[in-house]
């Protein structure tokens, strides 16, 4: 422990002497996790005492927990001591005020990923809070949002500028005791996004964050908190892509959504982390994410839409707690497992309030040796009179070596509840492909046509520019899966 501590000290003092000889200077602590690392992170971020204590409590809890084993995924044991828990672009204190001040190499990286900030600013009207490794480096459209009273900033900034809101809501939907990865995240989270929409405000634009992993051996522990106050409305887009990498990387994010009375939150994700080497499965991202929203007020609504095409292993269940009467929860999902990918994803809908309504549309696509699992729970509590749920879980198989699995759990404690569940499994058949080919449509286009037709119900829930991106991603992800 002492050695570890010393290393950190050496490391931090070193920074001033030499900096680092990577293309973009980073300030990274050596691998390993103990209380000192957590104190280091908290100190680095100039956090208040209560937050440090919260992190430490989470860490203590995490140490007593075991990694979950119930998911239908298989991966080598993670050595949590081999992960570095902090990495940030240098000179954060006098960070860039505008895009011009951002390291051109960084801008170049974003461009390669197809995220031209300048163009996006002009063309799409999307405010982009870009996360490079762990710290936000560029935020656009801040002024327009400020005018509307919307707070959209990095999590670290929110801790400094809006501590009361953070303190009130952090961990209120996903407590640090919730699960292994949420506890880990709570202890070591680096940064993320914070959104607050005041009463009666309709957020004037779609909010978007792009995540990206850059540094070797650096786990990403994002923390996102979105609060929609009474009668407000917000649509939040999240997309990520990661570069080629040879070692598995852990990504354990936590997202918490709070929708007050009559408020609506729409959260869309297009996830394209590196899935691993297509021939061996080596090197992909582990995406172990806890996403949960609470419809705390009556007539509120939370809608999750996800398109999961990347990652070697996905473990993710965006859920809704329907506490307010007449509140609505929705989950629309497309998950792809190609080559050696494994996806275990689904949702939980917890009906607490009266007349609560939930919809689950899950589309699983398996190809190559991919294993795709839908796991969902619909729970209707004793007082949730006239709760309704509609679930539809469809799977499509491409080839004969992949698998599709469905585990729907239903727990109803109120006899007035109405539950509907539909499920289907189909193949992309040789006859369908031949039919398309005979009409002049190539194999690749035929697969894309069929898969996009299959995913249509989910894609149409996505904001326009994301829908297009999602279709492209689908084509790339399934490239070469047939023929």
């Amino acid at each position: 422990m002492k050695t570890q501590n010393k290393t950190i000290e050496e490391f931090t003092s070193q920074e001033y002497q030499y900096g680092f000889v990577t293309d973009i200077e980073q300030d990274t602590i050596p691998p390993g996790l103990d209380e000192n690392v957590i104190r280091f992170i908290s100190h680095k971020k100039n956090e208040p005492e209560w937050l440090l204590n919260w992190r430490l409590k989470a860490f203590k809890h995490w140490q007593r927990m075991d990694e979950p084993k119930w998911a239908k995924v298989d991966y080598p044991k993670i050595d949590y001591q081999s992960i570095s828990y902090y990495s940030a672009p240098k000179d954060k204190s006098d960070g860039p005020k505008s895009l011009d001040e951002v390291d051109p190499e960084l801008i170049d990286t974003y461009n390669k990923l197809g995220i031209p900030l300048e163009e996006q600013k002009m063309l799409s009207g999307v405010a982009v809070d870009a996360v490079f490794d762990s710290v936000s480096i560029a935020t656009t459209f801040k002024k327009d949002l400020e005018k509307a009273g919307v707070i959209f900033c990095s999590f670290s900034e929110a801790v400094q500028d809006h501590p009361a809101l953070v303190k009130k809501y952090l961990g209120s939907v996903v407590p640090y005791t919730d699960n292994y990865f949420a506890a880990l995240n709570s202890a070591v989270f680096s940064d993320g996004s914070f959104v607050y929409i005041p009463k009666g405000v309709r957020c004037p634009m779609e909010l978007s964050t792009y995540f990206r992993i850059n540094a070797m051996n650096t786990g990403q522990f994002e923390r996102t908190l979105i609060i929609a106050d009474d009668q407000s409305h917000v649509s939040y887009l999240e997309g990520c892509t990661a570069p080629m990498r040879d070692e598995n990387q852990l990504h354990a994010a936590v997202v918490e959504l709070i929708a007050n009375k009559d408020a609506e939150i729409k959260y869309s994700t297009v996830q394209n982390w590196y899935p691993g080497d297509p021939k061996t499965g080596k090197g992909g991202i582990y995406n172990f994410v806890t996403k949960r929203g609470i419809c705390s007020g009556s007539n509120s609504k939370i809608s999750w839409t996800q398109v999961e095409t990347g990652s070697a292993v996905t473990w993710k269940y965006p859920s809704c707690i329907l506490k307010g009467d007449n509140s609505i929860g929705e989950f629309y999902s497309v998950a792809v497992a190609n080559n050696f990918q494994q996806a275990d994803t689904g949702t939980k809908m917890i009906h607490i309030g009266k007349n609560t309504n939930s919809t689950i549309i899950s589309k699983g696509i398996s190809a190559g040796k991919g294993q795709n699992t839908y796991r969902g729970e619909v729970k209707v509590m004793k007082n949730a009179d006239k709760a309704r749920n509609y679930s539809q879980c469809d799977s499509i198989l491409i080839g004969s070596e992949c698998g599709a699995h469905t585990f729907p759990y239903i727990d109803v404690r109120n006899s007035s509840a109405q539950m509907e569940h539909e499920a289907s499994t189909s193949n992309i058949g040789e006859d369908q492909l031949f039919y398309c080919n005979q009409r002049g449509i190539s194999i690749e286009n035929a697969v894309s046509l069929i898969v996009n037709g299959f995913c249509k119900e989910v894609f149409r829930e996505l904001p326009m520019e994301f829908a297009v991106e999602a279709q492209k991603l689908m084509e790339v992800s399934l490239e070469g899966s047939v023929g």
Partner: protein
């Protein structure tokens, strides 16, 4: 246009076509008749390039070039169309979208501009009338929830939209009532042109009442046993296939 030379085809190890010869010229309609299992559908599928059929001898020339090694989509783009005996259902893929993708793939291949949504809709509305289909069929999944007759009409709709040079109609007339048969035949007649050819594969002589076939061939046990004019079809209707067995 189409020249089939001593074509031998195997499927799952079993020889189905045992040396078929056939010449189809521009402007002609050929009818290929025969009992179940005589190899009629195999012939259609092999011309279209389905890869579960193994060509073990002979050749297929289309516009004087061998197409044996060509992919199915390339044959289609070059103008070969097959109306399926059992049109395939593709749920979730909008019928209009499918047709548009097919037509634009072909236009692209020909170096033409793709049709935009408005131009395409104009064309498709005109063609819908020819085959007597309502517009609602455009918005369904490809052949999804279509009756047998609707599926066959949809095939003809695709044919007249894609304007192939060679159309192979694999039992397009089976399962149609007399009204639907007339409509299908009318669609085929409208498609007919001096620079196009049609091969009709059928069990029955009745569709030939509405289409004037120049040539009628009888396929028996993987070989063309007899060729003739329309009178051959009439003779078959009257006497069956028995008199041709030797």
């Amino acid at each position: 246009m189409l020249e089939i030379k001593n074509l031998k085809v195997r499927i799952q190890g079993k020889e189905i076509l045992k040396g078929v010869n056939l010449n189809v010229n521009n402007g002609e309609i050929h009818a290929i008749m025969g009992r179940n299992g005589s190899g009629k559908s195999t012939l259609a599928n092999v011309i279209a390039g389905r890869d579960s059929y193994e060509v073990i001898g002979g050749d297929i020339l289309y516009n004087n070039k061998s197409i044996i090694e060509d992919t199915p989509e390339n044959r289609a783009l070059e103008g070969i169309f097959m109306s399926f005996q059992y049109p395939v259902i593709i749920p979730g893929v909008n019928n209009t979208y499918f047709l548009k993708a097919a037509l634009n793939a072909k236009r692209k291949h020909q170096g033409k501009d793709e049709l935009d949504a408005v131009e395409f809709l104009d064309l498709i509305r005109k063609n819908l009338q020819i085959v007597g289909m309502e517009e609602k069929y455009l918005h369904r999944g490809v052949n999804d929830g279509f009756s047998g007759g609707e599926k066959k009409r949809n095939e003809i709709l695709q044919m007249i939209t894609l304007e192939p040079n060679l159309a192979i109609l694999d039992e397009t007339d089976s399962g149609l009532d007399i009204d639907a048969l007339k409509i299908v035949a009318e669609g085929v007649n409208k498609y007919r042109r001096d620079d196009r050819a049609i091969v009709i594969i059928t069990h029955y002589q009745r569709i030939l009442r509405y289409l004037e076939a120049n040539h009628v061939h009888v396929l028996i046990d993987g070989k063309i046993a007899k060729s003739g004019g329309e009178e051959l079809a009439e003779a078959l209707e009257e006497k069956g296939y028995g008199w041709l067995d030797s």
